[in-house]
């Protein structure tokens, strides 16, 4: 059974008098445990699709289902709670809170759970350990390199143990070496921890790490399965 199901989704933005139809009856599925790269020219709707899956935005019509839950039908409060448990989100711009340390940034999603301080502490250390930053707990974002910041953001995205991790151009502002580190980390999260990963990227090297590539063009898919084979 697919983890993410998109059915006949349309999405229209109206800016001033202008209407922009991003999707016009889009359907797709994403398997549990897969690692998908979403590619396509600027303005093709990649970020919009990611936002719809994460419940950050609503489709104009059609349904978005994640793990059996109809995301497109939830109230804002339900969505927030659902998102806290099920989705980790990482942006191009690192989006750490500058006033919080790496540790405190990673703690944010756990503040929304019932975990005790001790349990939170364990989880934070594990998450920061996975991204290889357990020696940077007390550092503030400005004291970290871009690659390190992005790894903290990934730690924050996985600390609450969501099934789905969504990344919007996570390597867009990183140098080649940092990009490689982040991509290897994602492969590990997928292979070792079974996270379902969807990554938006312009970078073919980054896309090559994924096991499936989806090309979005003017709101429709041009699918290309990797030589490595079908998703697990």
């Amino acid at each position: 059974m697919p983890l993410v199901e998109i059915r006949d989704v349309t999405k229209t933005f109206s800016r001033d008098a202008e209407r922009i139809d991003v999707f016009n009856g889009l359907s797709m599925e994403i398997e549990q445990g897969s690692f998908t790269a979403l590619m396509g020219p600027s303005g093709s709707g990649k970020s919009t699709l990611l936002n719809l899956i994460a419940g950050l935005d609503r489709p104009t019509s059609g349904t978005v289902t994640v793990g059996g839950a109809v995301v497109s039908g939830m109230s804002p409060a339900e969505l927030a709670t659902w998102r806290a448990r099920n989705v980790g989100f990482v942006f191009q711009q690192f989006n750490l809170l500058p006033v919080l340390t790496a540790y405190q940034n990673v703690e944010l999603p756990l503040l929304l759970t019932r975990l005790s301080k001790k349990e939170r502490d364990e989880r934070i250390r594990i998450a920061l350990g996975v991204v290889g930053l357990d020696d940077r707990l007390r550092h503030y974002p400005r004291q970290l390199s871009g690659g390190q910041e992005q790894r903290v953001a990934i730690a924050r995205a996985i600390v609450a143990d969501p099934t789905l991790v969504l990344l919007d151009e996570p390597t867009g502002q990183l140098d080649a070496k940092s990009s490689q580190e982040v991509l290897s980390l994602l492969s590990r999260l997928n292979a070792e921890f079974g996270k379902t990963i969807i990554i938006v990227t312009h970078d073919p090297h980054a896309a090559a790490r994924a096991r499936r590539q989806l090309h979005l063009e003017k709101g429709t898919f041009v699918e290309q399965a990797m030589a490595a084979g079908a998703p697990a």
Binding site: N51, A54, L56, D57, P76, A77, A80, T81, W82, R83, A84, R85, V87, F89, F91, Q92, Q93, N95, L97, V99, L100, Q104, E107, L108, P109, L111, L112, K117, R156
Partner: protein
């Protein structure tokens, strides 16, 4: 509270701004409490005074004397139980910078008529027995460092010359609205030194019942209507209130200034809150993607406003209370019993609450309503 770290980090983001905002709230509430206390103190002073005490002054004006011969005629009026009299002296001590009330009284009857002035029995006896003795309010002990038994010399203004008194007793007011920094001495001493005879500044009468006050006052004024010194008689309350009505406009002014100050600070606080929320638009959007609900973000922004205003209020109101207590402030005798009342505290608390709501509601609602996607796009 597990969100405390987040709150503290946000408040610490612009330390100076947070500090200044708290300081301005504190200042606003300090001023509010001070102005309010002027009003309540004046109010208490004008309400002070027994309705069973009448005061008769010269109808021409309070500075003109009345014949001492009136005393017996007043005492003879049905319903009048006691009569006493006093005369303003207006002496200065030292450099004269510290004003305090001092007047001559017919001591025995005066103390009988004012049981609110509490004097230890031995001191009372010593004062009554010493013709040049003086009775002082307890505050003067601190103000001038005086002691019982000490000789003090006042410089007369209305009655020129150096006047030396021996402090024989200290009174403590049982009612906060009575001056605790006045000095009284014997009428006989005034008469003896000035060679003046037969005059009193004002009369005080204790009457049998407050209900008879208007009738007795009328009887008194009628009695002296056609004499050379007609009287004007009213209750002590009215007498005090006539001073306080002078202050009535002051109260209005104080209240107006108080509200204006609070409003000005409200703008400052609201502006600071709005600035800090706006700067964080993207961070608020990020928190939403993490799963913070609209309501939680509303609460967090509101809590920030609350911490600022409550801290400011506690500091401002607390400082007012402690400062006026510690310095025993009474505006040089004009505002006896100056003390921040519990009612003023409550009112100050309400003002702080209103400040919190007014300054927090706009940024908090804005944070709650913030559309995530648009907010994230705008920065890119």
């Amino acid at each position: 509270m597990k969100f405390w770290t987040l709150l503290r980090a946000n408040l610490g983001r612009h330390r100076r701004r947070t500090f200044l905002t708290i300081a301005s709230v504190a200042l606003a509430l300090f001023l509010f409490a001070s102005l309010r206390t002027v009003v309540t103190t004046l109010g208490a002073a004008s309400r002070f005074g027994s309705a069973r005490r009448l005061v008769a002054t010269n109808a021409t004006g309070i500075v003109f004397p009345l014949p001492i011969a009136y005393a017996n005629r007043l005492a003879a009026i049905p319903g009048v139980e006691r009569v006493s009299w006093a005369n303003w002296f207006g002496g200065q001590y030292g450099d004269g910078k510290r004003f305090f009330a001092n007047f001559a009284v017919d001591a025995r009857s005066y103390l009988d008529i004012y049981p609110e002035m509490q004097v230890p029995a031995d001191q009372k006896a010593a004062f009554l027995a010493d013709r040049s003795g003086a009775l002082i309010g307890n505050r003067l002990l601190d103000v001038f460092g005086w002691r019982v038994g000490q000789n003090v010399t006042l410089r007369g203004t209305i009655f020129p010359g150096d006047w030396t008194f021996t402090i024989r007793g200290v009174y403590t007011p049982a009612d906060k609205a009575i001056n605790d920094d006045a000095m009284m001495f014997h009428f006989a001493y005034l008469d003896e030194k000035t060679g003046r005879q037969g005059l009193a500044g004002w009369y005080i009468m204790e009457i049998d019942s407050a209900e008879h006050a208007p009738a007795i006052a009328k009887t008194v004024d009628d009695m002296f209507r056609n004499s050379t010194a007609p009287t004007k008689t009213g209750t002590e309350q009215a007498f005090n209130a006539s001073f306080a009505t002078m202050w009535g406009n002051v109260s209005l002014l104080m209240n107006t200034i108080g509200m204006a100050v609070v409003f000005a600070i409200l703008l400052v606080t609201a502006n600071a809150m709005m600035m800090s929320a706006r700067e964080r638009t993207r961070e608020l959007a990020v928190l939403k993607t993490i799963g913070f609900t609209d309501r939680r973000l509303f609460g967090l922004v509101m809590a920030e406003a609350g911490i600022i205003t409550v801290t400011g209020a506690v500091l401002g109101l607390g400082a007012a209370k402690l400062l006026y207590r510690a310095t025993n402030f009474n505006a040089g005798g004009f505002l006896p019993g100056f003390d921040v009342t519990p009612a003023t505290f409550l009112l100050g608390g309400a003002v702080a609450l209103a400040l919190m709501l007014a300054s927090g509601i706009v940024p908090a609602a804005r944070a709650a309503r913030l559309p995530v996607v648009a907010a994230l796009r705008n920065v890119e």
